[in-house]
């Protein structure tokens, strides 16, 4: 080495690789401490560690990126290859590989900010127009026969709904309108679904639902035309679109909102068993109420028949009749001064006076007879009239079960005319009974 070359070497500052890389790293870190970078995700890897490794690229450059496990858990979106994102984080240099690396803290899909604004604006506008008005919401049918489901036919929503109906053993039919729930043209298919069901008119309620994945793009359900189609629908619409906390426009405008497709199915499928119970209960109440009415009428009738005024009326009638006879007699003895017409008039009046109470009494008698007949039908004696017999045990308890009379035990039989005692045969399997007839007692 010449003197000149050696001198040249001595003046140069020679770094180690580590130092050099460290130096670059420090400068990069300070210059790119908290930055937003926009690019397309590629080469995404998710090893077991939970850290997410990928790269961001655009047309001419590529940047290694990582999102560590802690931050990755709280990412609002699920990163995937091909996704255009806005990523926020800090740059560094990964020394072992000498690569510039972008450590990501937060990511959002491109256009998210603008999307949010548009959503808010639409929501406010439609709310002002009254599309979300609770008063405008239609009630759900009590006993739907057929549910129209608008969703992706391959998605989990359909399976979930079917599972719920299977579990509840509900007899309700389903008609699926296969739609696209995300991507281009999705909103159009959803709108067509609403319109088709409306035209066909063969479903009682519509359930509109996302496919089922949690990372789905729900923008189709925020479409204004869809909102208007749902609002205009004469068939009630249930929305099972939004996630637990995110509501879409579809959720706001529908007649009912369910958090999941399963929940929608639970709501819609008629609580058939409960309705059965309700009908049974009402029937019981009706029968009871009727018995009460009859009982009351019967009591009232009995009271009236036994009342003094009823009896008195007959007595009084007889008294009046007697009086009339008396008066008529006196009238006949009266001087001719009264004149013929007057006498005739008096005779006529007298006659009518006699007839009226008789008629009234006859009417009463008819009414009472009628009511008695009605009551008779409910009387146990009517049962006997029809040829049945009433069997009772020694203490008077009515026998309804064969077990109430032991073999060898005695029982009492009452028939339409008369009654007698009996003794159950001791032999097993014998259906007939031997009986001893008492003296024939006539029954009223």
């Amino acid at each position: 080495m010449s003197q000149r070359e050696f001198g040249f070497l001595k003046q140069r500052l020679v770094h180690s690789v580590t130092d050099a890389v460290r130096g670059v790293r420090e400068r990069v870190e300070s210059a790119y401490r908290d930055v937003w970078i926009r690019g397309e995700i590629v080469d995404l890897r998710r090893p077991r560690s939970g850290h997410v490794y990928f790269a961001l690229k655009d047309d001419s450059a590529r940047l290694r990126a990582v999102c560590f496990r802690l931050q990755a858990r709280y990412l609002k979106i699920r990163p995937a290859d091909g996704l255009e994102v806005l990523a926020r984080g800090s740059m560094t240099v990964y020394a072992p590989q000498g690569d510039v690396q972008f450590v990501v803290q937060h990511m959002e899909p491109l256009g998210h900010g603008a999307q949010q604004l548009a959503f808010e604006e639409l929501k406010n506008r439609l709310a002002k127009e009254g599309l979300f008005d609770p008063a405008a919401k239609q009630p759900l049918p009590m006993l739907p026969r057929r549910i129209g489901v608008i969703t992706s036919p391959t998605g989990a929503a359909v399976r979930d709904i079917l599972n719920v109906l299977e579990r509840r053993n509900d007899l309700v039919s389903i008609l699926i309108y296969p739609a696209k729930v995300q991507g281009t043209g999705a909103a159009e298919t959803l709108i067509r679904g609403i319109r088709v069901f409306g035209r066909r008119g063969d479903v009682d309620v519509i359930v509109i639902s996302r496919g089922g994945g949690s990372s789905e793009d729900l923008s189709a359900f925020n479409d204004e035309r869809l909102a208007r189609a749902i609002f205009a629908s004469r068939i009630p619409v249930i929305s099972a679109v939004g996630h637990e906390t995110d509501f879409t426009i579809c959720d706001f405008v529908s007649d009912f909102r369910a958090p999941t497709p399963s929940a929608a199915a639970e709501t819609v499928a008629a609580a058939r068993a409960e309705l059965h119970q309700r009908v049974d209960q009402l029937t019981r109440r009706a029968v009871q109420a009727c018995h009460l009415v009859l009982h009351r009428k019967r009591s009232r009738l009995a009271r009236l028949a036994a009342s003094r005024s009823f009896i008195d009326a007959e007595t009084r009638l007889r008294y009046f009749l007697q009086r009339l006879d008396e008066l008529q007699g006196r009238l006949a003895k009266c001087p001719e001064a009264f004149g013929r017409p007057r006498r005739e008039k008096i005779a006529d009046l007298t006659r009518r006076l006699r007839e009226a109470p008789k008629r009234h009494l006859a009417d009463l008698r008819l009414t009472v007879a009628g009511r008695s007949r009605e009551l008779q039908a409910f009387s146990p004696l009517a049962v006997l009239e029809r040829g049945y017999s009433i069997v009772s045990t020694g203490d008077g308890t009515i026998v309804r079960s064969a077990q109430q009379v032991a073999p060898g035990g005695r029982f009492h039989v009452r028939v339409r005319r008369g009654d007698f005692e009996g003794e159950r045969l001791r032999n097993e399997g014998q259906q007939t009974t031997r009986s001893k007839r008492r003296s024939g007692k006539q029954e009223p």
Partner: protein, 79 residues
């Protein structure tokens, strides 16, 4: 009285039971209402039990119109 609608029938049954329980009606009317009530009860029971479970999907037929076809959840893309 013809009832086409379960909900309608149930509502009328509720109404009838209310009237009967009030007990202010004359005997004949009570009996008539009771009969109507029993008819409604039978109708509701039938409606609750009748039904079938069909699972179908609307598919576009060869003429381009939509037809209800049986749906098999295990199948792949339908449309």
């Amino acid at each position: 009285m013809k009832y086409k609608d379960f909900e309608q029938a149930l509502g009328r049954l509720e109404q009838i039971v209310g009237e009967l329980e009030k007990g202010e009606l004359p005997l004949e009317q009570s009996m008539k209402l009771f009969e109507e009530g029993m008819e409604l009860s039978r109708f509701c029971g039938t409606k609750l039990d009748e039904a079938e479970r069909r699972v179908e999907v609307l598919l576009r037929g060869s003429e381009g119109d939509l037809d209800a076809q049986p749906f098999d959840p295990s199948e792949g893309e339908q449309e």
